[in-house]
Symmetry: C2
Subunit: 297 residues, 2 copies
DNA sequence: ATAAAGTGTGACTCCAGCTCACATGTTTGT
DNA sequence: ACAAACATGTGAGCTGGAGTCACACTTTAT
């Protein structure tokens, strides 16, 4: 690759000067003084070993070599400007991609999407399932919604939206088995679980002062699922007691499709919105604000 | 004109990284550290508000937006490189334009061109008459050969090649009218002159201690010419005595076509080669050295 | 396990490129 | 003929953007 390119800033100065036919005008466009442009042009002359402009009256005029250079360089800069403008536009007006775990997407976000679109019509959100790419650093998304807990990696812009409350839920037809004053009555039913959150049940047991060994036994007896989403479906199907973030079963509790006999426990986890440093501020913050409102009425 | 272009150096870093698929490789090509490239890329992410690369394994991969940008930017940079290389080539290998006054060109340079081409075969000199554009700042030439005198404008690279000697010349058939011991015998013939060098005769008269008034009268009597070249032709035609730089009549004196009864007078003028600051050193200095040799044997 | 390769980033440094002020040359209006 | 406005070139001096260095972290290979 030919490695003797002149400084790019000098080429930009040349392009503007050649296009506008004036050093001063170019300086205006580039928001620098005419002296700065004049130096850049001189450095180009030296680089190419040939004059690009000559004086003409009180202004300047392209030399033959200058015209030759102008053809290619003018094209190249148009192309550059066009590409950058296009990307900028598609980044500002194109869909804003928000990734979040499938369970959160299905059980909390999708039911609220219509309201989101109504209240933030210009955000053109595109939601995606992030279970395949757990690490937001590998994702192309503009933002990621997920449960996490401190300490957060410093390079990610983490906004804590709400504390995570987990609760044990079951179908209402099993209500009589459970005593809301006695957490141990939970052991009358199998404990549904998922491999992706092995600490969920132990955490709950500790908060309610239950014996870990007996808990492990009950977990053993319950069905395992690959995914939190299916876990909750298991509870709805009456297979046993599921453990889930309160957020995901909020609507089911309100409608009476599920019950949470022992309330919910706040964990050290938080529902977080990850806005990478580079993300467009306007839309990212609009979204964060909307989520805050929606989560903390 | 859309004025929110990212820094060009960042775009160059992006282009190299996208093309080579590696930050480190791009850093190598740009002769900087990988850290420098990494920062540039980050600044681009921030400018566009969208990620251009994601991590992939231990390397990186273009995102969708990155690919979009790469198409245009890659093209633009190819174009830029191509244009610059083309101009550089035509400036280094193309003809080297030397301008000089028509009289010098015709009466001194052209007879020596063949030797120049033989001794400096790769210089591909193109000589032009500069009488229309006297000021080298308005010319497109790579170099200018001309008579000038100090002080020289600072911004021009002036190389003094030889002192200017002027002499009064006439046709040999008029030799008996002139006494080489008595300059006043010059007034036996009309004094040919040119408007472009009104000070030539007075200078000569002063050097030989002649009366200015009588000189003015003799000049009045002589034919005037537009151009030094025709002035010498006038002397060759026997119209009177011409005044000219010794260099221009050197060959005619040697061959006996002209005589210079009173020798020559050194003036404060110098034959100079003007090499603008930007000119390719190699060829400019080769030419200067050859001229030095040719003028001062 | 251990090494090697690749990328990201905090802290610091430095010089490329800018501004300022002035000089010089050109055009235009009166 | 003169002055004023316009345009570019340049010496001196300053500053912030861009680079280096060193280290951390992750992934791949041996």
């Amino acid at each position: 690759m030919s490695q003797d390119m002149p400084p790019l800033s000098a080429l930009r100065a040349f392009e503007a000067t050649a296009r506008l036919g004036s050093v001063t005008a170019a300086a205006g466009e580039l928001h620098v003084t005419h002296g700065a442009v004049s130096r850049q042009l001189r450095s180009l002359d030296e680089h190419f070993g040939t004059p690009l402009f000559t004086k003409a009256g009180r202004g300047i005029r392209l030399t033959h070599q200058g015209e030759q250079l102008q053809r290619g360089v003018g094209d190249a800069f148009s192309r550059l400007r066009e590409s950058c403008a296009e990307l900028k536009r598609s980044s500002e007006e194109g869909p804003f991609v928000l990734n979040c775990p499938g369970s959160l997407l299905a059980r909390w976000f999708i039911p609220r999407l219509e309201r989101l679109h109504r209240e933030l019509p210009d955000i053109r959100l595109q939601v995606g399932d992030s279970d395949s790419e757990l690490d937001p650093r590998h994702s192309e998304a503009g933002a990621t919604l997920l449960f996490s807990e401190p300490p957060y990696p410093a390079e990610l812009g983490v906004i804590e939206l709400a504390p995570e409350n987990i609760c044990a839920v079951a179908r209402p037809d099993q209500a009589e088995r459970f005593d809301s004053q006695d957490p141990a009555t939970i052991f009358t039913r199998p404990l549904l679980h998922t491999r992706s959150r092995p600490q969920a049940w132990p955490q709950w047991a500790q908060a309610h002062g239950l014996d870990e060994a007996r808990l492990a036994q009950a977990v053993e007896a319950g069905q395992g699922f690959d995914h939190l989403y299916y876990l909750i479906e298991g509870a709805l199907a009456g297979l046993g007691v599921a453990i889930a973030p309160r957020l995901l079963v909020k609507d089911d509790l309100a409608s009476g499709r599920l019950i949470a006999p022992w309330g919910s426990v706040e964990t050290s986890g938080r529902l977080c919105l990850l806005l990478p440093h580079y993300v467009s501020h306007r839309r990212g913050e609009q979204l964060a604000a909307w989520l805050q409102r929606e989560l903390n009425p």
